[in-house]
Symmetry: D2
Subunit: 348 residues, 4 copies
C-alpha cells in the first residue's frame, strides 16, 4: 500500500510502498479516507531537535484520521467491517494503575501512532479494537478526521470547567481556535482570545471569541480584569506553550481560578510561584491528550449539537499526493488546519 513515510533522518517525507499492516486477534484494519495534519507531523517533516530525539525512521507518520473498517481480528466484537470510524492514536498499555482507573491518556508506557510506531497517513492502518471510535452518521468526514486535536481542545475545556464562567485562551493555533467554539458550546459566558498573530485573532473572532487581544499589548491584564468586574478571568486555557504567555496568563486569571495548561514549553519556565499560584489559590491542570473515551463522547455530543462548527478552522483540503504543498502551506503560517483526502487521490 502507499504510505507517507519518514525514511531518513532529514527534512521531508516520501510517499512509498509498504506492506499492509498485519492484524492481531484484537486489532482492526482501517481503510484511511481523510487525515489531518498536526504540528507534530510538521516537526517530523522539518526534522527539528525534538523529532531527531524522538523519532526512529523508517516510520509511517500521521495520527489524525478517519476511514472505514476493512478487516477485524478474530476476537473483535464491538466493530464491524464497513463501519465508519476514527481512532484514539495513543496506544496505552491497559494494565497499569492509570489505565485501570480511567486515566489511560496519561499511561506512562503509551505509544503514539505516527511518532513511536507506524501511523495513519497510509491506505491502511491497524489499531487495537480498544482505540477504535465508531462515528455517528451526523459527524462530517472532515470533522471526524480531526477528532484527535478537537479532543485536545475538548479535554482542556472540560477539565477546566467553563460552565457560566469567563474564559481566556492564550495562543490560538489550531487547537486554541477549536477551543473557542468548544468553550462557548460547553457553557462559557465569555471567551477572550490572546495571541501574537492578528490574523489568528481575526479567525478567533469569526469562531465566536467575545473579544481578542494582542499578546504584545502591555494593557492586556488590565483589559481583561476590566471586562470581568475587576476580578480577572475565571478560567485560563493556555495553548501557546510560551513562557511569557504563561506568566501573563496566570496574572489574568482570578484568585481561586482554574488554569489548564495544554501548550508545551520547549524550555524550562521561570515563574513566581508564590504570587502567581500559591497566594492566588489557583488550581493548575496539566493537560495531555484526551480522556479515553469520555472526551470522545463529549466531542461527539458537542459536534452533533451543531454548536461546534469547525468549518472556519479547516482552511485547506488537499489530495493526499499534495502533501509537500500542504506542509508548505503550514509553514506559511496562514493555515489553521489542513486536511488531506485519500479517497479521490488513491482512486487515481
Amino acid at each position: 500500500m502507499k504510505a507517507l513515510s519518514k525514511l531518513r533522518p532529514e527534512r521531508g517525507f516520501v510517499m512509498n510502498e509498504v506492506p499492509v499492516p498485519s492484524l492481531g486477534p484484537t486489532d482492526v484494519l482501517i481503510r484511511v479516507e481523510k487525515v489531518g495534519l498536526c504540528g507534530t507531523d510538521h516537526h517530523i517533516y522539518a526534522w527539528d531537535k525534538w523529532a531527531q530525539q524522538r523519532v526512529k525512521p523508517p516510520l509511517v507518520i500521521g495520527h489524525e484520521f478517519m476511514g472505514t473498517v476493512a478487516a477485524i481480528g478474530s476476537a473483535v466484537r464491538s466493530v464491524q467491517i464497513g463501519e465508519r470510524v476514527s481512532a484514539e492514536g495513543h496506544i496505552a498499555d491497559l494494565t497499569c494503575l492509570l489505565c485501570r482507573t480511567g486515566e489511560a491518556h496519561i499511561c506512562e508506557r503509551v505509544e503514539i501512532i505516527g511518532v513511536d510506531r507506524d501511523g495513519a497517513f497510509a491506505e491502511y492502518v491497524a489499531m487495537p479494537e480498544y482505540n477504535v471510535w465508531r462515528l455517528d452518521p451526523a459527524i462530517p468526514d472532515e470533522f471526524a478526521a480531526i477528532f484527535d486535536p478537537l479532543g485536545n481542545a475538548v479535554h482542556t475545556v472540560m477539565s477546566a470547567g467553563v460552565s457560566a464562567k469567563s474564559v481566556v485562551i492564550t495562543g490560538v493555533g489550531s487547537i486554541g481556535l477549536m477551543a473557542i467554539p468548544v468553550a462557548r458550546a460547553a457553557g462559557a459566558s465569555a471567551v477572550y482570545a490572546i495571541d501574537v498573530n492578528p490574523a489568528k485573532l481575526e479567525l478567533a473572532t469569526r469562531l465566536g471569541a467575545d473579544e481578542t487581544f494582542l499578546a504584545t499589548d502591555p494593557g492586556v491584564v488590565a483589559d481583561v480584569r476590566r471586562r470581568t468586574n475587576g476580578d480577572g478571568a475565571d478560567v485560563l486555557l493556555e495553548m501557546s506553550g510560551s513562557g511569557s504567555a504563561i506568566d501573563t496568563a496566570l496574572k489574568i486569571v482570578r484568585n481561586g481560578g482554574r488554569a489548564a495548561l495544554l501548550g508545551i514549553p520547549s524550555d524550562n519556565v521561570n515563574l513566581n510561584l508564590a504570587e502567581l499560584i500559591i497566594f492566588k489559590g489557583l488550581t493548575v491542570l496539566g493537560i495531555n491528550g484526551r480522556r479515553m473515551f469520555e472526551t470522545w463522547y463529549q466531542t461527539q455530543a458537542l459536534v452533533k449539537s451543531g454548536r461546534v462548527d469547525l468549518r472556519p478552522i479547516i482552511t485547506s483540503v488537499l489530495p493526499f499526493a499534495d502533501f509537500d504543498r500542504a506542509f508548505e502551506l503550514i509553514e506559511s503560517g496562514t493555515e489553521a488546519k489542513v486536511v488531506l483526502d485519500l479517497k479521490g487521490d488513491l482512486a487515481k
Copy 2:
C-alpha cells in the same frame, strides 16, 4: 407606605397602608420598583393547606423584586444609596455550620421574606446588607425582578452539571421553562422537555428545547433513550414535584447519571429505590433555593452573556394595583411569569 398584605386567614390579598420598615445598623432599605409573582404567593393568595400551616397574618407578602437603595444602616459598607439592587429572600442565621461553610441557602433557621416575615410587595422593603445584590447595568429591570426564581433554575442546572450533556426537564412551569435557556447557555448538548400541558411545551420549544414530549405519552422513556444512543439522558432536572413524573424521569436518566430534584411533592412518593437509584448508580441531588452568592454570580454571567433571554417567559407586566387580575391570570394556567410594576402605579 402601600403594601400588599395577607390580613386575615382567608383567600385574597389587601392593598393597605403599613409603616416603612425600620433599619438596623446592618440593614438596607430598598424602594421597590418591580416584583415577580411566584407560585408561593399564589398559595398564600388562595390560602391553601400549606399556606394555612405556614403563614401567620398579618403579613406583607412577596419575595421576587428589584428596586433602588433608599437608605442604609450605620454599619453598611458595600451598598450605597441610589444603587439598583435585587436581594436574596432567604434570611439565614449566618452563624451555623451551614452558613459558615458556604451553604447558607440550606440553613436550618432560614426565614423567607413574604412567607415567614414581611416581604417585598410594598413601596419599601428592608433587607440585611448580606442579602443585597447590586445589579449590573446590563440586566434589564424585568429580568432583575425575577432573579430569585431564575436563580432556582440556575442552581438546579449548575448543581447537576450540564456541560456537553443531554438534559431532560420534567415539568415546565415558570422555573422549568427558565431552565431551558439556562441549560443551553450552561453548555447542555441537548435539552428535552416533558410536561402534561401542550401549551407549556410550545413555549419550551420557543425557549430552545430540542424536543418536547407529553408526559402522558407511554413511549416517552423509549423516545428519549432513542435520542441518546440508547443510553438514557445524562442529566435530569425534575421540576414538577409529581410522584409519577419522578418515577418516569428516573427511568429516563441513564446509569451513572445525575438527577436534580427541585419540584416539591405534596405527598410522600413511593419509589423502587433499588431499580431506579441503587442499581443505576445514580446521583440524586435535593435542590433548595439558590447558593449565596455563587448562584447569583452565575445568573448574572449567563444573563449578561445574552444567552438567557427571559422575554418569552414574562407573559404579562401589570401595574401593582392590578394584583387581583394578576392572580386571576395565574389561575387561568396560561401564564409563565407575571411581573408587577410599582413605579408607574405608585406615581399615580
Copy 3:
C-alpha cells in the same frame, strides 16, 4: 473438576463434577483456593423468590474468591501462570458508554459470575484478563477471598467521602461491619453504627465504631444529632435495605450531607422526598458493585496500610466440603463472614 452447583430449582447445592472451563484468547484460568460466602449465595441456596426469577440451573455458584493462575489465553499479557490473584466478578461488555468512561461497574449488560454464568465455587474458574486482580503479597489469603464485598464497603465509603466527617452506618451485616474500619481508615472523624441486632452492634464496637444505637430506640435521631453539634451526621452509609431504616437515616444526616445507598430494599420505599431530600439539599448516591479498578486499588491500599483488619469479621473458615454446615451457620444469624478453604479439602 469438583464444583458447587445449583442443579435443580429447589433448596440446596450439590457438589458435582463439571468440565474445567475452556479458555478464550483473552481469558485466564484460576485454580481457586479460598472463597467467601455472600448473602447472594444464600439466596440461591435457599431458592427464594429473587433466586427463582434470576437464576437458571444448572449453575456453578460463587463470586468471592482468590487463587492462583493455572493457564492463560494466547493474547493475555498482564498476568502470568503462578500468580496469586482475585478477580472482579462483574463481567461488563466493555464496549458501551459506561464501560468506556470508567463506569463498567454499572454497565447495563453486566453478567455476574455465580449468578448469570458459572461461578467460582469450583476447582477452577475462567475469567477475562480484564477482570483479574493481581494480589499484593502483603494481602492475606482470607482477606483476598473477600475483596469483592470489602470492595462494596470501600466503594460506598469512598463515594460518600468521609475524610474529617462524621459517619452513620445503618445496617451492620457483613458489608456494614467492614465499612466501619474502612471508614475510619479512610479518615472519618466519628463512626456511629445502627442495627436491630445487639450482637452485630457489639461486633461493630470491636471493629471501631465510636458508638452504636439500636434501630428500635426512638431517640436515635436526637442522639446522633446531639453527638454532632446538633447538626446531624455529615455522611450516611445505608447498608440495611430497610425502608424504615432509610427513612430514619435520612433524618439523621444533616442538611447538605451525603447519603450513599448500598442496601437493596426488597420492595418500593415510601419517602417524604420534600422533607428528607429536597429541602435538606442532600446528595443521595446509588451504590452498586465496585469501581473497576479504582476501588480495588483503594481496597489494597487500605488493607496494606494495616488499618483495615478484617479478622473480627471472618467468623468461620471451613473446608469446602462443609458447605452445608456453612449455610446452616449463615442461617443461624450469628456469623459475619464465612470463608471456605478449597486447598486442604481438595487435597483429600
Copy 4:
C-alpha cells in the same frame, strides 16, 4: 494594656503599654490567654527583607492565639462574654466575589492581624464577629492557640484529598509536621516525609510518618516510587518553599496525581512545566490560609477525634515575658512550635 510591639524598623520586639482596642458594633474583644509563635513573627522580629517591605511600625504583632470573650459590640449575636474562643486572623472584605462565594481566605483585600494591622500578642485583641471561632470544650488551650497553622496543614491536606492515598510531604517545619498526623487522620494510606534536617525527620517519625527520607539523598525519587508500586505518590504536600524541593517533589508524584503547594518560595522557580506538570496530567493547587470556616470545622473534628495529637509538636511553652528567649529558641532551629502563656505571666 501590655502588648508585644514592633516599634522601630530594626531587629527585636518591645513589650509596651498600648490602649485596649475600641469595639465597633460587629466586633468582639478577646482576653488573650495563649499564643503561638509563627515563622512570620520571626521574620518581623528579625526584620528581614520581607518584613521591611510589608510591615509598618508601630504594630502589635501576632496572629495565633486563643482566649476568652471580654466584651461584644452592640450587633454581635453569635458570641457571648465568657466564651472560650480562637479566631481567624485573615480579615477579609466580605463584599467581593471571593468572599461571597466561600473563598474569603483568598480575598484580594485581606488584612492579616499582626502583619497589616494590630495583632494578638497583647492582653486584648478586637476581632470582627465573623472571624471568631467558638472553641469546643474538648480542645486543649495549647492546641487552640495554634489552630491557625494547624488550619494551614488541614487546608492543604483536605484540598489535596488524601483518603486511601499515598502522601509525600516535602519540608517538615512546624506545619509540615502537623500535616503528618492530619494526613493520617484524614485517611492517607501511607505518609512519607522528606527534609534536609535529620532531627525534624525523627520528629516526623514520632508523629506517624511511615518512612522518612533526607532531601539530599539522590535516590529519593526512586525510593518513593519503589514503595508505591512503581507509580509514584498519589499526593504531594509541598511545605518547604524550596525550588529544588519542588522540582524533586513533582518528580515523585505520579501521573494524574495532585500536588498542593503551601511553602512559599522566596524567589522565582525554574521548572520543566512540560515534563513535570503537563505531560503528567498533574493537578497543582496553590494553598493560602485556611477556608473560612470549613477548615476550622474540619480541624475541630480531627482534633476531637483524638487522632491528631499535637503534643510532640509543641516543644516549648514559656511565659509571655520570655519572648526574647522564645525567639532565641526558634533561631536555634531545634523547636517545632513555641507557645507563650499570658495568663500566668500577666497575673504577676
